[in-house]
């Protein structure tokens, strides 16, 4: 407080009455002569009286002190005191950085969450600042926004603050400071107040080392169990699937909780659940199987809800089940044995169907997107080296075939075959007869399936996302299609292709990371619409550039639906951030700013006067009591 100011300073003249009060006190306390009929009787009484002490002399002054106190109180009440406004301080600039990351949704604050407390603290600071100060308010989250500098009590700052909501991962302090510096050139001389929980905020210590940096810390708890992410794997050939969830215990004590997967048509049926123990500070991967009718939306939940709901659930979009499509690239009709095998074994191979295209049409179709899940080059070769996908090369010799060809052999002698390979395990090809074949030398990422002394007659390879098998002869130039080994080889190969789909966390997106299509969008789509399925009012229209887009608005966990023309898909967005899930507030660094003296409220002077008057009355009452007791 800057002191007291008096509304009616003339009331100080009342203190002049202190002089008559003092005079009256001493007049009343003067020594008076009283005649008594017999002093001896008094001396009998006084003989038992303890001699007067200094304490008694002091007690004589007590009524005077009380009277003077009452007089001062009355004069003060008449003077109508009130706290002096902080008019002397020169105007200051304030930069308030408000953490809007998702951890601010933690409900470990009395009657609300960290966000509500942070907003209340900001409002209190704004209310306490004098109107001549200037305030720049910066939201410090995935998106850094700012308003100001304005006077602290302006509507623009209030509405900006009301429009903020926590979301996203991370609070980029440096970025917020750089933006603040752009808007407030004298930032170095300004008071910078960070209102945050400090969780997962890097550079906080260095920030606070500078002068005029303040940190208002919100939040209190850190014992938390959070889902870091989740994914799903459903392979071709199996309608069942596996859901993976990674859970981290941020607390100091081991915990055990139920992990549940919900899904089904309505999305709320319990598909599976299991109680899992989580050691303190450990990260645990949990795998749960899901049934064939799992639905399209899976939600992984942790039991025992705690104060932070944002990472107690993980959202996983399960793509609709479909069989792989087989595309045969051949000049004219495909090999009849191949065609009949694909047709006859459709159910056994668990494929949707097959089609045949010429190499030219294949190239055209590939330019528009992925034409098939498995591509069979029947005596043909790709015009460009394939980088991803599943391929079967039958008698392909082109330069873009991903094998190292070494020569041509007539009537090769099959002397070895890959019986230990998963693809070839039940197959014996000792009866295989071949007219002319190309021979290849298997590379480091390839394994031979059929071998002759000159090299490999068939092999399979696996290079990151490229999976392929190569057969060095045409079917029509061998008896391979006539052997039972051929359909077994095809089925084994297709099963191997299906098994190549590995589960990974990037099946789902993380909060704050951009959502982008995994494949090129159809031509003609100029924009997509992204919808937050938990809040239909949250819709974004995202422009499409080069058949792709990037959407940065996924700031809350949940399902987001992307609508691109006639097509559309759903994806899950999870917090997936260990730093944001680690909710331990940095209270050790808390350094709240010294609030300036607030402006006196109207009527405050009246309240102070009332209190002073009451004090004066109490002093008078005490004086009466003391005087009555001591002097009658």
């Amino acid at each position: 407080m800057n002191g007291i100011e008096w509304v009616s300073p003339a009331a100080g003249w009342l203190l002049v009455l202190a002089a008559p009060v003092v005079a009256l006190h001493f007049y009343r306390g003067r020594k008076r002569t009283v005649e008594v009929p017999c002093l001896a009787l008094w001396e009998r009484v006084l003989a038992t009286e303890v001699a007067g002490s200094g304490l008694r002399a002091l007690s004589n002054l007590l009524p005077l002190a009380l009277c003077l106190a009452a007089l001062v109180g009355l004069a003060g009440a008449a003077g109508a005191p009130r706290p002096a406004p902080a008019a002397e301080r020169p105007p200051r600039s304030w930069a308030i950085l408000l953490d809007t990351s998702l951890s601010m949704r933690a409900r470990d604050v009395e009657n609300g969450d960290r966000w509500s407390e942070a907003v209340a603290r900001v409002r209190a600071l704004l209310a306490a600042l004098p109107a001549r100060d200037r305030v720049l308010l910066v939201s410090c989250g995935t998106a850094v926004r700012a308003v100001g500098p304005h006077p602290p009590q302006t509507e623009r700052i209030a509405s900006f603050l009301a429009g903020l909501a926590p979301g996203g991962v991370g609070a980029p302090l440096e970025r917020a400071l750089s933006i603040a510096r752009e808007l407030l050139p004298d930032l170095d001389a300004a008071e910078i107040v960070l209102v945050s929980d400090g969780a997962g905020m890097s550079g906080l210590d260095a920030f606070l080392r500078a002068p005029r940096r303040w940190f208002v810390c919100v939040g209190s708890r850190s014992d938390h169990l959070g889902l870091l992410g989740a994914g799903v794997d459903r392979r071709w050939g199996s309608r069942r699937g596996l859901v993976f969830a990674r859970v981290r215990n941020y607390g100091k004590y081991p915990r055990e909780t139920l992990v549940t997967i919900r899904g089904g048509d309505q999305g709320d049926a319990v598909l599976n659940s299991r109680k899992v123990a989580f050691p303190a500070g450990a990260e645990v991967d949990v795998t749960l199987e899901i049934p064939p009718d799992a639905g399209e939306r899976l939600v992984v939940e942790l039991g025992d809800p705690d104060f932070f709901a944002e990472d107690r659930r993980a959202w996983v979009a399960l793509q609709p089940f479909r069989r792989p499509r087989v595309l045969v690239v051949a000049h004219g009709a495909p090999d009849p044995f191949l065609a009949s095998t694909l047709s006859a074994l459709r159910e056994a191979l668990d494929v949707e169907g097959s089609g045949t295209v010429t190499p030219e049409r294949y190239e055209a179709a590939r330019g528009k997107g992925s034409p098939g899940d498995i591509t069979v080059f029947d005596g043909t070769s790709p015009s460009a080296p394939p980088t991803s996908g599943n391929y079967l090369f039958l008698g392909s010799e082109g330069e873009h075939v991903p094998v190292r060809l070494s020569g041509r052999v007539e009537k090769p002698v099959v002397w070895k075959w890959g019986g230990d390979a998963a693809i070839f395990r039940p197959i014996a090809v000792d009866a295989l007869r071949i007219g002319v074949a190309r021979v290849a030398q298997p590379g480091a990422e390839e394994r031979a399936l059929i071998e002759c002394p000159q090299g490999a007659l068939a092999l399979f390879g696996d290079r990151e996302e490229l999976h392929y098998a190569w057969v060095g002869f045409r079917l029509a130039d061998s008896n391979f299609p006539l052997l039972v080994a051929f359909p077994l080889f095809v089925k084994g190969l297709f099963g191997w292709f299906a098994g190549r789909r590995e589960w990974a966390f990037d099946e789902c997106y993380a909060v704050g990371s951009p959502i982008a299509p995994r494949a090129a969008l159809p031509q003609g789509v100029s924009e997509v619409t992204v919808v937050d399925e938990s809040d239909a009012t949250r819709r974004w229209r995202v422009p499409v550039t080069r058949r792709s887009f990037e959407f940065w608005g996924a700031d809350r966990p949940g399902f987001y639906r992307i609508e691109a023309g006639r097509t559309g898909w759903r994806t899950g967005v999870n917090l997936a951030s260990a730093s944001e899930s680690d909710l331990a507030p940095r209270r050790d660094l808390a350094k709240p700013p010294p609030l300036p003296a607030r402006e006196p409220e109207p009527g405050e002077a009246g309240r102070w006067s009332l209190w002073l008057a009451c004090g004066a009355a109490a002093a008078l009452l005490a004086e009466w009591f003391v005087s009555h007791r001591s002097a009658g």
Binding site: R32, E35, L41, W42, R629
Partner: protein
């Protein structure tokens, strides 16, 4: 004028009680237990040689054969000596106490004079003052009143020194009325004993003024003794004043107890009471006066 007529009339119906003294030489308007030559028969007693034969009751002798002497009650006078304390303390705070004492003394003297008692009046303080002696008859009150009015209140109280001076002895019953505040704490008993030794039947009228009970104010006081002018400073608080009242009450009780133990009639008289009430009611109740 000390009294109005009605009060004087009421005084004429009173007499000073003399319980054991009945030997006045002169005949007075008082019934004596001494059997004498009055016409009012009182009692019989057995004849002893030397008795006058004219008082023999021959009728009794004729009936019973025993000699009895008829006795007749005789009305005797009493010597009443009024001792008025004329020390400075008797003036009181406002003088009212002194006036009251004088009026009371005058009233008692008038009661005696009205009944042909022989009244002597002595003021005293540190010594016994010159008094008025042996007045008889209510007309003598006019001599006495100016004397009483002129008595000044001065000096210190010393009952022992005052009553060491012997008063003139007179034959007959003698009653002493001491009107005083007795503020001679150490010497009042010795002084009263001296009067007892002179054969007086004593009545002490102990005057107490309201102001004696309550000093009336508290705070820093300089107490001045009215008689000796000795001073003492005191911070008088309410508890101290209460303690003083207790000490004063105890002393009053002590005086009364001592008087009763010494067969001295005692009456504590508050000077704030109306004199008529004191004389007509209080002193009668205390046995100092009686209705004729």
């Amino acid at each position: 004028m000390l009294f109005d007529e009605e009060f004087i009339r009421s005084l004429e119906y009173l007499s000073i009680v003399a319980r054991k003294i009945l030997s006045g030489q002169e005949r007075a308007d008082r019934e004596s237990l001494r059997r004498g030559g009055s016409i009012e028969f009182a009692d019989h007693r057995t004849y002893t040689p030397g008795d006058e034969l004219k008082y023999l009751d021959w009728n009794v002798y004729a009936r019973h054969g025993h000699l009895f002497i008829k006795e007749f009650s005789a009305e005797e006078n009493v010597h009443v000596r009024v001792f008025l304390d004329a020390s400075r303390s008797m003036a009181g705070a406002t003088g009212a106490k002194g006036d009251f004492a004088k009026r009371l003394a005058a009233a008692l003297a008038y009661v005696g004079l009205a009944h042909f008692d022989q009244i002597s009046f002595f003021p005293f303080a540190a010594t016994l003052g010159d008094g008025v002696r042996a007045l008889r008859g209510k007309q003598r009150i006019f001599e006495l009143l100016p004397f009483i009015e002129k008595i000044p209140y001065a000096g210190t109280t010393s009952l022992e020194a005052a009553f060491r001076t012997p008063v003139p002895k007179q034959r007959g019953r003698r009653v002493g009325l001491v009107i005083s505040d007795l503020y001679d704490l150490e010497g009042y008993a010795r002084g009263l004993r001296l009067l007892l030794a002179q054969g007086l039947e004593l009545r002490v009228l102990h005057l107490v003024e309201e102001g004696d009970l309550d000093p009336g104010r508290t705070g820093r006081l300089k107490l001045v003794d009215r008689e000796t002018r000795r001073t003492r400073e005191v911070l008088l608080t309410e508890p101290l004043a209460a303690r003083y009242r207790l000490v004063l009450e105890a002393w009053l009780e002590e005086v009364e107890s001592w008087c009763l133990a010494s067969e001295i009639g005692y009456a504590r008289v508050l000077t704030s009471l109306p004199l008529e009430k004191v004389v007509v009611e209080l002193l009668r109740r205390k046995g100092v006066l009686d209705r004729r």
